[in-house]
């Protein structure tokens, strides 16, 4: 039981379960999944689809945060990606042809990768603080997106592009399949090779890891480029969902949601140790939370307040001070068993922060 309580996924999963239970109580058919025309339908499937863009952005964010950085520009990149893809499709002679759509996607992703590389350049080569380096693109990026769309909301009709947002593959939403697929591949690459450990080393102590032969600069650069690419993909999913590129509102505050997902998942903003599974649960929690608000009948106007209370509760529960109290409280009744060496890991993690 104590091990279960200590597991890094315990609190996020508990939050998710609480939300799902609350939803099921409010509307008993919440968890029901029906099959229609060979596609799965139902609230859980909806949640999976809504999680997709956030999951992609949060995935990039986790890697960036692992290297002690942060990427505030992902929301702007989302807007740029949608603007590029839809402007290209709208201006082409044949919006329905798959070639046009694939070119548009490639163009958008290439530009977003470039934007990520730019962030990485500022952070790793010029050594500018991540928060301010990405703040530059956060402000300028939406302006660039407006420039591309000419200040208007570009809308298109293109069946092949629409598949990205509302299509189904093997009965599951294409968006979800894509996002979870990318997530699985990245998680596999990061955790089954030394890459993840090297990233953690960079985050825990950049100087020491560089001295021991880790290519910190290249790694940092790579994660920002990856974050840009994933945000670009998320932008495609978002714009394909609405079939419109809104430079002002596409991906608005998604960077904050993504950072929340990462934090809820138990990755500290101070860098170093990260866990992708936590981010996955965090993204699901946020998407479910948004869904809950409508299911339970809370006015959408109150959503931010509700979000704030959940965030405050989760961050306070995860704060070092509160954890000390909690572990002290759980340890006291079973003081006869000698303390495991685990608690030693805790002062270590606070030391990184100081």
């Amino acid at each position: 039981m104590r091990n279960l309580l200590r597991h890094h996924l315990f609190w996020p999963v508990a939050a998710l379960v609480v939300l799902l239970v609350a939803n099921t109580v409010a509307s008993p058919s919440f968890l029901a999944i029906t099959v229609r025309d060979g596609h799965l339908f139902g609230a859980p499937i909806d949640i999976l689809r809504m999680t997709a863009p956030l999951l992609l952005v949060a995935l990039g964010m986790t890697l960036v945060i692992a290297t002690r950085g942060i990427d505030l520009s992902v929301g702007a990149v989302v807007a740029v990606s949608g603007a590029v893809a839809l402007s290209y499709i709208a201006s082409s002679s044949d919006p329905e042809s798959p070639v046009t759509v694939l070119t548009a996607i490639a163009l958008a992703l290439a530009l977003c990768l470039l934007l990520g590389v730019w962030n990485g350049f500022l952070v790793s080569v010029l050594g500018i603080q991540p928060i301010i380096a990405t703040l530059i693109l956060m402000t300028a990026g939406r302006g660039v997106a407006m420039l591309i769309t000419g200040g208007m909301i570009t809308t298109v009709n293109s069946e092949p592009f629409k598949v990205l947002g509302s299509g189904f593959w093997l009965g599951l939403p294409v968006a979800a399949v894509l996002a979870f697929g990318v997530f699985a591949v990245v998680a596999f690459v990061v955790r089954r090779t030394a890459l993840g450990m090297l990233l953690e080393a960079t985050g825990i102590n950049p100087a020491a890891s560089r001295l021991s032969g880790v290519r910190s600069k290249t790694l940092t650069w790579t994660v920002y480029a990856a974050a840009g690419l994933f945000a670009g993909l998320a932008g495609l999913l978002i714009s394909a969902d609405t079939m419109a590129a809104d430079a002002n509102n596409a991906g608005l505050f998604i960077e904050l949601d993504a950072i929340l997902a990462v934090v809820i998942g138990g990755t500290a903003l101070s860098g170093g140790k990260f866990n992708l599974s936590g981010t996955l649960v965090g993204a699901l929690v946020i998407a479910t939370l948004e869904r809950t608000v409508t299911v339970v009948g809370i006015s959408p106007l109150v959503t931010p307040l509700f979000m704030a209370l959940v965030v405050i509760a989760v961050t306070l529960l995860q704060s070092p001070r509160m954890r000390e109290r909690l572990t002290a409280a759980t340890r006291r009744p079973v003081a006869t068993t000698p303390a495991e060496p685990q608690p030693a890991a805790r002062p270590d993690s606070t030391e990184v922060k100081a």
Binding site: G127, I132, R142, S299, V302, P304, L305, T315, L316, S319
Partner: protein, 332 residues
């Protein structure tokens, strides 16, 4: 952040010889501001006129107040993402209470006090629970915005006679105009300057930002200072909301979306380092003026679309950050 701490010690020793370096970013901001005035003045008639300059202050009084508060928090090495939302909350509280018939003498302290309370909560979360400033104030941002919607989902006009007369108070000398909002903002800037440079609290703010561990070992009241910095920022956001309510004569829950970013950008352009410990309130004011002037130039140009504002602000941020980077690199 931890790695840069040891590098700071030798820098402090050299301070007397290189004192002017501290002022370089601020001087840079001033030069940019002057250049913009010169370029604007040569391109458009009536650009450098008392009316335009007065409007620059009148339109940005609330942002100046936000930037002053933000400077305190950033100097301690933190950040306050809630400023825009707290500003909105303050406008909504003002408008809603005035609509309910409360006298301004009660409403005004309440609106500003709402900011103070939220700031206090941030400070407590950041210092006592060791929540990252970014996350704590992010939660505060959602909280304040949500509270706005609970109080009033729609825009409320302010028609209380004494509040309107306070808001429309204008002092005119020659072509210059000064609204009550500008007067309050300027008084606050003066106060901020005095507090940072001539009080024990101000010195401690710099010390905490320069190196929290060292400040703690020196026996400085780190806890109180950090919490107070967030209280100052929250109060400033509350006051900024009051000024915005006076300026727009209404309270609306969607005002000030992303305004905290403008405030942060102004502070950075004004030469304050986001790592904390270096920077000036007056620099932040210059930063706000630069941002306001970009807007003015784009309005004067007429043919340029408003989104160029964002791009220009981004480019300016880049230039200033790169400049700061070069300066700090040379110093170490």
């Amino acid at each position: 952040m931890a790695t840069s701490a040891p590098a700071r010690a030798p820098r402090a020793l050299k301070m007397p010889i290189r004192l002017d370096r501290r002022y370089l970013p601020v001087v840079g901001t001033f030069v940019v501001l002057a250049l913009m005035l010169v370029v604007g003045g040569s391109r458009y008639d009536n650009f450098v006129s008392p009316a335009v300059i007065s409007n620059l202050f009148i339109n940005n009084a609330h942002l100046i107040v936000l930037a002053v508060g933000m400077t305190f928090v950033i100097l301690t090495g933190g950040i306050d993402l809630s400023a825009g939302s707290v500003l909105a909350l303050s406008t909504v509280v003002t408008a809603a209470l005035l609509q309910a018939g409360w006298p301004p003498a009660v409403v005004i302290p309440l609106a500003v006090g709402a900011g103070t309370v939220i700031g206090l909560a941030h400070g407590v979360m950041v210092h006592y629970f060791q929540v990252q400033p970014f996350v704590a104030t992010l939660a505060g941002m959602f909280f304040a915005r949500g509270l706005c919607f609970v109080i009033a989902p729609e825009s409320i006009a302010i028609d209380n006679a004494s509040f309107v007369s306070l808001a429309s108070w204008v002092q005119i000398f020659g072509g210059w105009r000064m609204s009550s909002g500008v007067l309050i903002a300027l008084i606050l800037v003066g106060l901020g300057f005095l507090v940072l440079h001539f009080t024990r609290f101000g010195r401690t703010v710099y010390a905490v930002g320069g190196g929290e561990q060292s400040a703690l070992l020196m026996g400085l009241p780190v806890a109180r200072t950090k919490v107070l910095a967030y209280v100052v920022s929250g109060t400033c956001a509350g006051l900024g909301g009051l000024l915005f309510a006076m300026y727009s004569r209404s309270g609306y829950s969607l005002t000030g979306v992303a305004m905290e970013l403008d405030a942060i950008a102004a502070v950075v352009i004004g030469g304050t380092l986001l790592t904390g410990g270096t920077g000036f309130v007056l620099g932040s004011v210059l930063g706000v003026l630069v941002l306001g002037l970009i807007q003015t130039i784009i309005t004067f140009e007429g043919t340029l679309s408003s989104w160029w504002t964002k791009i220009v602000i981004g480019v300016l941020l880049l230039i200033f950050v790169a400049l700061q980077r070069v300066l700090t690199l040379r110093r170490t």
